[in-house]
Amino acid sequence: MPNTPSVDPPIVTRDDARMLIHEAAFASVLAGMKKAFPQLFLYGSFNVPPSSQHDPISIPSPTGGVDVVINYRIDLDDFAVDLAPADITVGSFLDPFNLGPGNAAVYSQVTIDLAGNPVSAWQVRVTVQIWLECSISLGSDGWLNLQLLDASLHIDQVSNSSLIAALNHVVHDYLQTVLPQLRLPVTPLVTNQWMSISPTALLLQLDAADLSFKITVQ
C-alpha cells in the first residue's frame, strides 16, 4: 500500500489548484517557528522573555500564608508531525494514537525546569516527550479549526508505567474538559500582485495534507 498520495498527473482533482504537503514538511515549519518566535515555545517564571513570563507557583501553607514558592520554565523543542497512518517514532516513542480521518499527531520534547525561590536555591530538570492528538478541519466560513484532543507522555526518568498511565489519564481528562482549540483565518490564504488563492477543501490522508484551492487572478 502506498504511504503517500500519488503525484502522477493529473494532480488537480477539484477546483483550480491542489497542494500536497508531506507531514515532514510541517515539522520543518514548526522547527522554523521555534527559531523565529522562541517566546511561543517558552513559558514560565524565570529565564524566559518578558512576553512569556508568569508568576511562580505559590503553594499555600495549611496553617495560612505561603509554604513554598516554585519557579518553573517550560521549553518545547524537537518537533515531529504524524498524519495517518500513525507510523512516526521519535527516539523510542511511537505515535500512540489511532489516527482517524482529519486527525494529526504532533510530537514535541518538553523540558521542564523547576526551581526554588530564589532560583539559585535548588533546581530540577524533567524532560518529557509528548505526542498531542489534534483534529484539523477547514470550515465553510474560511477558517481553519484546530482542536487538541488527547496527549500521551513519556518521561525518561520515570520507569513506572502505572504512574505514566495515570498521568496520561489526568491529561486526557483535562483536555476533554477544557477542549483547547485554535481558529485561523485562511481565506484568502495568499494574495500577491497577480492572484489570491482560497482553500476550498482540506483532507488529511496517507502522511500528507491535501488542499484544494480556487484561484482569483487580479
Partner: protein, 283 residues
C-alpha cells in the same frame, strides 16, 4: 509506474486554464526601463536606456512546453548624445596651447579678485528608436537560486525560449510607431501627409519584413533545431515568480526559517503547472 509524494515534499499543481490565465496576466504586466550605459568624458556624454512593455499575449499549455501564440513586445531605445563645449574646451586646452576660457582680474595691492568664464554652451541630441518584437514560440520554465537586492537567496522561476517561430523585429509595428510619433508632432495638414507617406513606407517594408522573416526563421532553425534542442535563451532578467530559499513560502516579516531544496517547475503530462520542492528544516 506510479510516483508518490516523497518525505518533506510539497507539490503544487494548477489546472491548465488557470495557469494559462495566470501566465497571460503575468506576461501582460511585464514592463520597465533599464539603463544600458551612461558615459561622459571631456564634455561629451552618451547614454542609452531601454524601456519595454509587453503589448499582447496569447498562449496555451502543451506539455512539456508553453506555446506562446502571440507575444508582442514594444521597446524603445532612448539614445542621448550631449556635448558641453565649455568642458570640451577645458579638456582640449590641457593638450593644445589655447587661450584661457576664464579670466581673473584682481585689484592691485589687495586680495580682492573676480573670475569670469566664457560659457560656450552645450547641445543635446536625444534619439528615440522604437523597436517592436514578435516573440511567439515555445517556452519552458527554468529555475535558479539568485541573491536578490535584499541580500537573501531566492528561487527565481523564469522562462526559457526553446524556439521562436519568427525571431524578427516586427517591422510593420515599428514603422507604425515611428509614424504615429511623427504624426503627433506635425501640425495639420502635414500630419495627414505623414500618415499617407507612412502607409506607403509600410507597404514597402512589408516586402522587406517578409524577406527578413524568411531569413530569421532559417536562422532560428539553425540556432535551435540543429543543436538538438539543448540551446535555449534564458529570460533570467524577468522572473515569473520568486520564492525565498531560506523561509517557509508565504511568510515574511518575520519570515519563518526553513530551506527550500530541489525546486522544479514543469508543465506536466496533464498540462498542469506542476511545482515541486522539498521543505527542509533551516540549517
Amino acid at each position: 509506474m506510479t510516483t508518490f509524494l516523497n518525505p518533506n515534499e510539497v507539490v503544487i499543481a494548477i489546472r491548465k486554464a488557470s495557469t494559462e490565465n495566470l501566465l497571460t496576466h503575468i506576461l501582460e504586466s511585464i514592463s520597465g526601463a533599464n539603463p544600458v550605459f551612461n558615459v561622459s568624458k571631456c564634455g561629451l556624454g552618451c547614454s542609452l536606456s531601454i524601456s519595454y512593455q509587453v503589448r499582447e499575449v496569447q498562449l496555451h499549455l502543451a506539455t512539456p512546453e508553453i506555446v506562446v501564440d502571440t507575444l508582442n513586445l514594444d521597446t524603445t531605445l532612448q539614445f542621448q548624445l550631449s556635448l558641453d563645449f565649455s568642458n570640451l574646451y577645458d579638456c582640449l586646452s590641457s593638450i593644445l596651447p589655447l587661450p584661457p576660457r576664464c579670466l581673473t582680474l584682481c585689484i592691485p595691492f589687495t586680495n580682492i579678485c573676480a573670475t569670469k568664464c566664457l560659457d560656450l554652451g552645450s547641445i543635446g541630441l536625444p534619439v528615440a528608436i522604437p523597436l517592436s518584437f514578435s516573440l511567439s514560440g515555445l517556452y519552458e520554465l527554468k529555475e535558479e537560486v539568485v541573491i536578490d537586492d535584499d541580500g537573501q537567496p531566492y528561487w527565481h522561476v523564469y522562462l526559457q525560449i526553446d524556439f521562436i517561430t519568427p525571431l524578427v523585429l516586427d517591422v510593420a509595428r515599428t514603422i507604425q510607431r515611428i509614424c504615429d510619433a511623427i504624426a503627433s508632432e506635425l501640425p495639420w495638414p502635414l500630419s495627414i501627409v505623414a500618415g499617407d507617406l507612412c502607409s506607403v513606407f509600410g507597404q514597402v517594408f512589408d516586402v522587406l519584413e517578409n524577406a527578413i522573416n524568411t531569413l530569421a526563421v532559417e536562422l532560428t532553425d539553425l540556432f535551435f533545431k540543429a543543436t538538438g534542442g539543448w540551446v535555449g535563451i534564458q529570460l533570467k532578467f524577468a522572473p515569473i515568480y520568486k520564492l525565498r530559499q531560506n523561509a517557509v513560502p508565504g511568510t515574511s516579516n518575520p519570515a519563518i526559517p526553513a530551506l527550500i531544496n530541489s525546486l522544479t517547475s514543469v508543465i506536466n503530462s496533464a498540462n498542469e503547472l506542476d511545482v515541486r520542492f522539498l521543505l527542509m528544516p533551516a540549517p
